[in-house]
């Protein structure tokens, strides 16, 4: 058996030699070295062992070398999988949500261009931080005794706030939705219907235009006159939120994420504070196949969203959310305000994609994506096996010789 293995190693070595020369690069990867290999190839195949993921520049350079004919192989030196995503919400309050994924139990430090932001210990499903602001690149750094990995994600540019349009009949719901968004920092253009053909207008709600407006909220059937404008606005990339009565408008019902179900009114104890759990709710059911439930109350879908054209449409099942603000205990106002702001942020047009930056949100994944799967180092391992197999062979021969020599002695 040992003889057969030795024979295989010899054949493989001869085969490898006939396939071309291979060099194991042990020196750190540098721009100078890459430039040298680009003009004067060092070998037919270059092998690297990466303990940390090379930068985007080096990765792309290695891909270019491969396409120019140099074989590129790499061995995974144990690069931890770390992913960071910084998501600046279209919210005047400046919310940036940072999601980090990586090995469970490790501590990750977060920085932006201005300095340290925070740190968190990752759970089995990563970790999420909600930050009031972030500047430039958000860096997640994972340090282990052996190595450190940095993943970066652009937090996105701070854009001048667009306006939000609120349409509905004059009433407490409309008044307090406008108040909540205004307090949050949105510029609100509103049309309060007060009588047939008569409305109290705040700002300039029409024409709906993504150049000016981020989202439109339709609270009731008085938005029917503007349904076509809302549909066009959605298809152009704008956002829309529909309260239960607005979702019954024919043109909007066709686009709404779900159907309006039966009304459920949980019992409210006398004198008790009002929370979202006790608001009257129309269950949104069934949802369309491409709709996504944003919020559930028990088993009932309370808020859902879906894409329409380039925009997003959200549907709210709650009625009279103003009661939460007025009678919602000490946190009622803040809760109502933050909830409506989050709803708007989930559909609002944020001015299109940010410019392509120099971020590196998932270094290991990017390495795998550009250079392919790592080698297990077969050539190196077979070469490393050679002395052991040789020793085994000598041992076997010595055993055989001893056996024959000692056979007569027994």
């Amino acid at each position: 058996m040992a003889l057969a293995t030795l024979l295989w190693l010899t054949v493989e070595a001869v085969g490898a030699r006939s396939a071309g020369t291979g060099v194991e690069v042990t020196a750190p990867l540098t721009q100078r070295a890459l430039a040298g290999w680009s003009t004067a190839p060092l070998a037919d195949t270059l092998s690297f062992r990466f303990d940390t993921a090379p930068s985007r520049l080096y990765r792309d350079w290695l891909v270019a070398l491969r396409r120019a004919g140099t074989g590129i192989r790499w061995i995974d030196g144990g690069i931890p999988a770390l992913v960071v995503e910084a998501d600046r919400r279209p919210d005047p309050a400046g919310v940036v949500i940072v999601r980090v994924s990586g090995p469970a139990g490790v501590a990750v430090r977060l920085d932006d261009d201005l300095g340290a932001l925070d740190s968190l210990v990752l759970g089995s499903s990563g970790g999420t931080l909600r930050l009031p602001s972030a500047a430039g690149l958000v860096r997640a750094t994972l340090r282990t005794p052996a190595r450190s990995v940095i993943a970066t994600s652009a937090s996105g540019p701070v854009r001048p706030p667009r306006h939000v349009v609120v349409l509905g009949a004059a009433g407490w719901e409309m008044k307090f939705v406008v108040a909540a968004l205004t307090e949050r920092g949105w510029v609100v253009d509103a049309r309060f219907g007060v009588a047939p053909g008569l409305a109290v207008t705040q700002g300039r709600p029409f024409p709906l235009d993504t150049a000016r407006h981020a989202a439109v909220i339709a609270l009731d059937s008085t938005a029917a006159s503007y349904a076509r404008s809302i549909v066009t606005f959605l298809r152009d990339g704008g956002g829309a939120l529909l309260a239960p009565d607005a979702a019954k408008i024919t043109e909007l019902r066709a686009l709404a994420p779900g159907r309006i179900g039966t009304l459920v009114r949980p019992p409210l104890s006398t004198g008790g504070s009002v929370s979202r759990e006790v608001l009257a709710l129309h269950e949104l059911a069934p949802l369309l196949d491409d709709a996504f439930a944003l919020e559930r109350r028990g088993a009932q879908v309370a808020v859902a969203v879906r894409r329409v054209g380039a925009g997003r449409i959200g549907q709210v099942g709650y009625r009279e959310t103003w009661r939460w603000r007025m009678a919602g205990g000490p946190d009622g106002i803040a809760g109502h305000r933050a909830w409506w702001a989050a709803l708007v942020a989930s559909v609002a047009y944020d001015g299109g994609p940010a410019a392509v930056g120099t971020d590196e949100p998932a270094p290991r994944a990017a390495l795998l994506s550009t250079l392919g799967a790592p080698s297990v180092g077969a050539a190196h391992s077979s070469r490393a096996l050679f002395p052991f197999v040789l020793m085994l062979l000598i041992g076997c021969l010595f055993g055989e010789w001893s056996s024959r020599r000692l056979r007569g002695a027994r």
Partner: protein
């Protein structure tokens, strides 16, 4: 769409129910002139109860001195902070009567001092136009009470909106009649009440 419910404040001191026909009269006007969903009946709500927070516009009137209890004062403060609007009318039409002195003191303690509301405020154009400011009442014109025509209303404003609206004009007397009687008026004198409600619902 939820209905607007006209609420009258019941408070521990004084005569809170001195103008019992005002709610029905204003409800009639709202139904007559606007498309707002309005509950056909008004409600009475205790000023010191958390039920106050179910009605973001509350009407308070009376002739007698007003002294809020601790609970009433705290609830009025909460009500205003949450976005409610309290409409207070002096049923005496006095500039320095017992209701006026005590009510303005109590409002100052609970919410803040009252200030003159300019006559070009958006309240006066919220539905019907009142370019001259608050409409005069027959009580003022007939020389009853303090024999004065009050040129301004008073208000406490919060974040650019009226939180407490205070009137010495005695709209409580002016509007305290059966809605059917409106047909005898050449101009409906409750129109300003519609402005107050529309303002409360839109600002």
């Amino acid at each position: 769409m939820s209905e607007f419910v006209f609420a009258t404040a019941e408070y521990a001191s004084g005569d809170w129910d001195s103008a019992p026909l005002v709610p029905a009269n204003l409800i009639d006007s709202l139904a007559r002139y606007t498309s707002l969903a309005v509950a056909p009946q008004g409600v009475v709500v205790s000023l010191g109860s958390t039920d106050l927070l179910r009605f973001p516009l509350v009407f308070l009137t009376g002739h007698l001195p007003v002294r809020f209890t601790t609970a009433e004062r705290a609830m009025v403060r909460t009500f205003v902070e949450r976005g409610g609007i309290l409409f207070v009318d002096d049923h005496n039409h006095d500039v320095d009567g017992g209701f006026h002195r005590s009510a303005t003191e109590e409002i100052a303690q609970a919410v803040g001092p009252l200030r003159q509301l300019p006559n070009d405020h958006s309240l006066y154009s919220a539905f019907f136009p009142f370019p001259e400011g608050p409409p005069t009442t027959s009580q003022e014109l007939n020389g009853w009470g303090d024999n004065l025509v009050h040129r301004y209303l008073l208000a406490v404003e919060r974040a650019g909106r009226i939180a407490v609206l205070y009137s010495n004009k005695d709209y409580s007397s002016e509007w305290n009649y059966h809605p059917e009687t409106k047909r005898f008026y050449s101009v409906d004198n409750t129109r300003f009440g519609v402005n107050i409600v529309v303002y409360a619902l839109t600002r």
